[in-house]
Amino acid sequence: MTDMRTEIETSSAPAWAANRWMRLAALIIGGVLLLAVVQSVSDTSELTTSGTWAAALRLSVPIMLAGLGGMFSERSGIVNIGLEGMMIAGTWFGAWAGWSYGPWQGVLLGVAGGAVFGLIHAIATVTFAVDHIVSGVAINILAAGSMRFLSVVTYTPESGGGATQSPGIKSQIATFDVPVISDFFNWLEAKRIFFVSDASGIIAGLTSNLSWLTVIGLAIVPLSWWVLWRTAWGLRLRSCGENPYAAESLGVPVLRMKYYGVVISGALAGLGGAYLVVVQAGIYREGMTAGRGFLGLAAMIFGNWNPVGTMVGSTLFGYADALRLRQNEAVHALLLAVAIVLVLLAVWSAIRRRYTPAIFEGIFGVLFFTWYITTDSVPSQVVAATPYLVTLLVLAIATQRLRMPAADGLRYRKGEAV
């Protein structure tokens, strides 16, 4: 039964996928063009530089990994708001092993640390049917407290660490430039040709000075898509999140699958934490996750519980953060971009005779445009809120198309089917 369904999906994949890839390509080119136009109209320079996109990539990977973690858990039917706590475990163990042994050991132990907290969440929610939210909140508190305790007992003043921070890790993971591509596009970026240099800046940013761990993180996106949608195991996992009783009746070991989902979730969040330490900070610092686990959840919802969508959502957060940290004025230019997108959406909706959304999008588009024209800058408080505003907008517009797994967050007990 399961095999048959997989087969059907696979056989119908090419035409469907080609269409989707075309759309994706069109969206990307359109997006770059938009940024290029906005950049040339306003006085910013950072929207499409390689530096901004390299920073955006580094800032979005931990969020994305947490989001992918959330996806595995929720696809199996377990809501996981303990991602933040699992990420905290990942940062602490990543830094400890990174300091004691080396960066790659840090990555491994960070993953393991996250997985352990994932296991705790699984035991609580799957075996003992504790409310998922209650358990998740408990995980967050437990992780923060126990990492503090571990710091106190582990780091002596002589080690260079203390109650709130670790000593620096031994060395960084090697970075590399993608041969030829990186050089070529860096060269092209410097030419300052409209659109061409903008696109080159983005490509150069994403291909220069890459950490191997970034590559691994990005590879998890297609990998998790493949596992969840192209293997029998993935179908079983998803069936537990959609209708566990139907899955049970077909012989799927629902409890075990949920365990897998939640533990993988913790491992990925832990990897996100380890990335934060090993690639970015080089040190553990209490509170360094700063809500990235929750941003991951938001990115996952934004991405409709899909890996590619989750990646896009976290890129949005990472890009907005990078822009804000690099050039405050650039965020002002984003207002123009948002206005243009909204107006285009309004036109699109009007063509498809969906007049109510068209009017809303049009009104908001005009509002954003007025805001852009009448001000020179965005207040810094609003700048900090930009990614969240954009997410809200996207959710408001796309909300009809978002669908969480049908049995997500519900209690499941074996053999309780009605």
Binding site: G51, L59, V79, A163, G168, G287, A290, L325
Partner: protein
């Protein structure tokens, strides 16, 4: 129907939980929700039962010293002893006073979210400690309340002004110290561009930036200064986010700055990481400037070569002086400003990277002391 409602509830709860944790991360000012208080309770148990030796210590020195019978209570802010910065500096002042005067000492530190700051003050007051130090501006509200409940106890708060008859406010002229390192940055810059990274965009940190800008422009009027704040209040995570600190610093280096000063607490290590990375990847030599303590001594040894100087904020001097006055029964002003003149702020020379410009820095310092130069403490 019911299940749909429940699942909506799940996400409402999720947002609530986010707010809760954000508040806990912020730690600064949030003491309102019951759930946060519950969080605090849980963590208190963890810390006190798990590591009693580390978080609370009571010691009595041998008799015959001037401070005999004086019981000093110390309530640290988040991080406590071992934070390599603010709290450690306060601890150093306390240790010195203990050694010299033989006072009795009790130290407490709050939970990671800082929810029980006020509780710690109250515990010390009930334990008969006098004076009681509150280390950090986040204690302001707590000190205000507890001081009214214990009118016979003297409280001392660092970095904030609390107007109560029994409270000593110990504040620093961070803008003056920042002016000195601003001058150092401008004098040392080869590119004519320097940077400032603030942890959180609040008045206290604006003070650092104002002084830094003033000092830099004082020695080089045409200097260009980049400035970034990592987070906006009430999100206080900017003081503990080295990843963001590093990205902000890398951006400044890429935009041509070659000296960057941070007032971003724990995010600051990211600055020195960025300086090392940028320098090693073929960029020219760039520098970071530390804050609060002499960061040359607190960063990882491999990062030392990138700490040009540090703006010293002598919390240890403030704590020591206050205890000394208390022991010797010297009356103290309700508000004491530890400025350049009182050696409360200054710059460090560890590593010898600024040795060549010390004469110019000393000249500016002297002018500030003499009142010939007034450093602004707010951004215009």
């Amino acid at each position: 129907m019911r299940t749909r409602f429940m699942r909506k509830g799940v996400y409402v709860a999720l947002m609530l939980a986010f707010a809760l944790v954000a508040a806990a991360c912020g730690g600064g000012t949030n003491e309102t929700t019951t759930s946060t208080a519950a969080t605090g309770g849980t963590e208190t148990t963890t810390t006190t039962t798990a590591a009693p030796g580390a978080s609370t210590t009571t010691t009595t020195e041998p008799a015959g010293m001037p401070g005999e019978g004086v019981k000093v209570g110390m309530a640290y802010d988040i991080g406590g002893r071992g934070d390599k910065s603010f709290n450690d500096s306060a601890a150093a002042g306390l240790d010195r006073a203990k050694e010299e005067f033989g006072i009795e000492v009790q130290e407490l530190e709050p939970t990671a979210g800082g929810e029980n700051r006020e509780e710690n003050l109250r515990l010390l007051a009930e334990g008969g400690f006098d004076p009681i130090f509150a280390i950090g501006f986040a204690f302001a509200e707590g000190v205000d309340r507890v001081a009214q409940d214990f009118p016979d106890t003297t409280f001392a708060i660092v970095d904030s002004v609390v107007e109560q008859p029994n409270v000593l406010s110990l504040v620093f002229a961070e803008h003056e110290g920042s002016a000195l390192v601003g001058a150092a940055a401008a004098l040392k810059s080869q590119t004519g561009t320097i940077g400032f990274i603030g942890g959180v965009n609040i008045g206290l940190i604006n003070k650092f930036e104002a002084g830094y800008r003033f000092g830099a422009e004082y020695v080089k009027p045409d200097i260009e200064i980049l400035s970034t704040y990592l987070t906006e209040p009430p999100d206080f995570s900017g003081f503990n986010d080295p990843a963001k600190g590093k990205e902000a610093a890398l951006a400044m280096f890429e935009q041509g700055a070659d000296v960057v000063y941070h007032a971003a607490g724990g995010s600051g290590t990211g600055l020195f990481q960025a300086a090392k990375e940028f320098t090693e990847q073929g960029g020219s030599k760039v520098w970071g400037i530390g804050v609060d303590s002499d960061q040359y001594n607190t960063v990882d040894p491999e990062l030392r070569d990138y700490v040009m100087t540090s703006m010293l904020k002598r919390v240890d001097v403030a704590v020591y002086t206050t205890i000394k006055n208390f022991v010797e029964e010297v009356p103290q002003d309700p508000i004491t400003v530890f400025d350049v003149k009182a050696d409360g702020v200054g710059y460090s020379t560890s590593g010898g990277f600024v040795d060549d410009i010390v004469p110019q820095l000393e000249e500016l310092k002297q002018k500030i002391i003499d009142g010939m130069v007034t450093v602004p403490d707010t951004l215009e």
